[in-house]
Point group: C2
């Protein structure tokens, strides 16, 4: 593990961690990872107001986590890089173990 600098941590925070720091945005990432989806579809899936979805999509887009492509009046969003979900899936497995008492913190006893 290469030591990390404070500047690198700030970039990591600004471009990724801040982006995945909301449950709605996590759901959005999973939804657009399956296939490109437009805002209307995402609004139905998330069950929140459309401006709220646009707000979260903007945060994801500004950080480069998702990409937007217009098709007529619709705008389709998709995941920009598979590593984003790859990392989240590792954390998801960790949490799953945590919930079933299999995470390493529990095994230390």
């Amino acid at each position: 593990m290469t030591p990390i600098s404070e500047e690198e941590v700030l970039l990591l925070h600004r471009y990724v961690c801040e982006g995945i720091a909301d449950p709605k945005r996590l759901m959005l990432l999973y939804y657009v990872a399956e296939r490109p989806r437009n805002v209307s579809e995402l609004t139905e899936l998330l069950d929140v107001a459309q401006p709220t979805v646009s707000h979260h999509l903007r945060i994801l887009r500004e950080r480069g986590l998702v990409v937007a492509e217009r098709d007529g009046t619709s705008i389709f969003y998709s995941l920009s890089d598979p590593r984003i979900l790859q990392a989240i899936e590792i954390l998801r497995a960790y949490v799953a173990d945590l919930m079933t008492g299999r995470a390493s913190v529990v095994n230390k006893a």
Copy 2:
């Protein structure tokens, strides 16, 4: 990629994403991943007030991301599970590519 439920996303958010959503906490995770460190040392490393460090450590501790062990009057913190930094390192590599124009979003052109 197994579909994720809304409840699972909420757990993922509560136990991990919320925990790594602050640059100071990211630094703390990297510091305690090297070796167990006590609060005084972490306070010097982070260059913030001691209550601020304790606050962040509490957030990490409550989520199970770090574990605390007392030794005399000191309390040493360490990383609870290597997968946490493993995932963060993937995101770190992604951001590094993003900064040098090598991330997949750029390569789509």
